[in-house]
């Protein structure tokens, strides 16, 4: 039988504290955010998206960006990227001690206009300023492409558009490009051609996938991405972060479910699932909500019934 060339190790990029919390209605206290981040780090995650330096008018939840960044204990070999939508946000991030920033461009023109009020080209120009400044400060930049398989306004998004934006971000200096299925509509049928197109212009080891589980498709999409050679996966503890385009629907894929699958495939992550579940438990208790992770839910309940020998 033929084997897939699956990566031996997959880096999990935890986006819960930022992408997960940013749409929460009730403000999560800074101390809780910091504690969540610490627990995530304790589980072995090496990249935790800490916060976002956007205007508090747009994202009130993350108005405490500076305090969060200053409050987290910096562990060796752990990175805390923060979002910076423009030069101003970047300067604020640097002043607060950020060592890594992230920028977001859309593969869909309509989404770019409706989401960040400018065209793709205008956003790329903005980000070139950020990346030039980042290079001067020796700061790493991660690039995100949104709407890589579908847009809430335009519908289907052509893979060539995704490749174009990914390449632009890569050429301007992003060390990693995360490809996001913003509304979770993708299936392997669309994901694979999209990855084919992007991988023709950006090396596979510079790519990450960021799937939303809004239609329950995230793990299948992650699996084919691994089969295509991708070795970095974004996810959110407990599946924090709903979908702003389909109220009440789920959003981010749950880190626990991803780690469960990766470990089942024999892929190393350095993440301790039990400790990860502790972090998820912590934030869900605070938010007073059940976990969005099926693995975490199952493992919690199964433990009460019998010793898991698996």
């Amino acid at each position: 039988f033929v084997s897939w060339d699956l990566p031996r190790f997959v880096k999990v990029v935890e986006v819960g504290p930022r992408d997960g919390l940013q749409n929460e209605k009730n403000i999560v206290p800074t101390s809780v955010k910091i504690e969540l981040i610490h627990k995530l780090v304790a589980s072995g995650l090496s990249v935790v998206e800490a916060t976002s330096f956007v205007s508090p008018r747009w994202v009130p939840q993350l108005a405490d960006a500076k305090d969060v960044l200053e409050g987290i204990q910096h562990a060796p070999n752990v990175r805390f990227p923060v979002l910076t939508p423009n030069l101003r946000g970047f300067e604020a991030a640097v002043a607060a001690g950020a060592k890594e920033v992230a920028v977001f461009a859309s593969a869909s023109e309509s989404f770019s206009k409706s989401n960040i009020n400018c065209t793709i080209e205008e956003s790329l120009a903005r980000y070139r300023d950020v990346t030039s400044a980042a290079k001067k400060h020796g700061i790493r930049i991660r690039g995100y492409v949104s709407c890589v398989v579908g847009c809430p306004v335009e519908g289907a998004v052509h893979p060539s558009k995704v490749a174009y934006v990914a390449k632009e971000l890569y050429d301007m200096g992003c060390v990693e490009i995360s490809l996001g299925d913003t509304i979770g509509v993708g299936t392997p049928g669309r994901v694979v051609p999209m990855l084919e197109a992007v991988m023709a212009v950006v090396p596979a080891d510079k790519l990450a996938v960021h799937f939303h589980d809004t239609y329950g498709q995230a793990l299948a999409n992650i699996l084919v991405s691994l089969q295509m050679g991708i070795g970095v996966v974004d996810s959110s503890v407990s599946g924090l972060g709903g979908c702003p385009y389909a109220k009440g629907a789920t959003g981010n894929v749950a880190t626990e479910d991803v780690v469960y699958m990766l470990h089942g495939l024999g892929i190393e992550t350095n993440v301790d699932l039990g400790k990860l579940m502790d972090a998820g438990d912590y934030i869900c208790k605070h938010l007073d909500r059940p976990s969005g992770s099926k693995t975490a839910t199952a493992l919690c309940r199964a433990l009460f019934r019998h010793n898991r020998k698996l």
Binding site: R8, V192, A200, A220, G266
Partner: protein
Amino acid sequence: FQNFELEEGEHACRRRTYQRHPVSNRATPVGGNRHVLYASYLSQNQQNYRSFSASSDQERIEAANRIIHGLPRCVKIVEVGPRDGLQNEKNTVPTPVKIELIKRLVTSGLSVVEATSFVSPKWVPQLADAKDVMEVVRNITGVSFPVLTPNLKGFEAAAAAGAKEVAIFASASEAFSKSNINCSIKESLVRYNDVALAAQKREIPVRGYVSCVVGCPVEGSVPPSNVAYVAKELYDMGCYEVSLGDTIGVGTPGTVVPMLEAVMSVVPVEKLAVHFHDTYGQSLSNILVSLQMGISVVDSSVAGLGGCPYAQGASGNVATEDVVYMLNGLGIKTGVDLSKVIAAGEFICKHLGRQSGSKAATALSKVTASASKL
């Protein structure tokens, strides 16, 4: 070479002829057709570490071919909601509601709907109305309505009620067999052989189920050879199809692939179905690898009905809507109208006073009109 001719399935899906090359272990196309490759999970020691340099165009095309272009053109969905989905509901669902659910599922294009179970009402009070459900359902043409029959007595009752297809359940785990149906695997197979013989006499097809194919709540991991043994026994005794069930949903492609490899070495792939539970959120990726291995029959439950009896409150069956959504996205024909399955799911969830367990159904019902252009 081993030369497998994959015949036309129920939905006239032509599969391609392929050969398995003994040296490279790579299935090569015959006559220039695209090929289906069987994938294998290797132990960590053997896995190739992919060096992450920029892949060549050729490598990418080959990867994409392996991943999504060799999949079955059609997949048959076996809907188990009315039986597997409802059987553990605490509150008895009225017979007319069950029948209405079945009818709505049929309208969506599903060609196999597991209607009920002829087990003792002592064990499954929810399905005590099996006879009444069958009475109506037997008159619906063009659709198969398998019913569970745990023994000869159940079979006779099913046949008397007009059942045209029955299903039997054996476990790949000895401990689970004893705790679930109070007998050893061998004893259950003897029982089922009686059912199979009786069914044969009446020309009633029998579907076999194997439970605990990748994990057991008592024993833990289950050796693939156990699963192959039970699957082969069921197949040899006359089951036209054997459905492999991850009863507690613990499987991942890492355990599913070796299990399928073992079973496929003794039962033809076109006679196999997969029945994954979504308790750990793993079912769609498990279904995907199964398709990559050549499986073309998938069991699922509308709205994800049917919790996991081994982890209270955790989910169980994979939702039909989520499966159909993925298959549609892969360009695989199912004959099923997604919006009508969603409607059937809404109907039963309204009755149960619960939210759908299907993410696709939930998203589609909440999404704005413009987003549904996809």
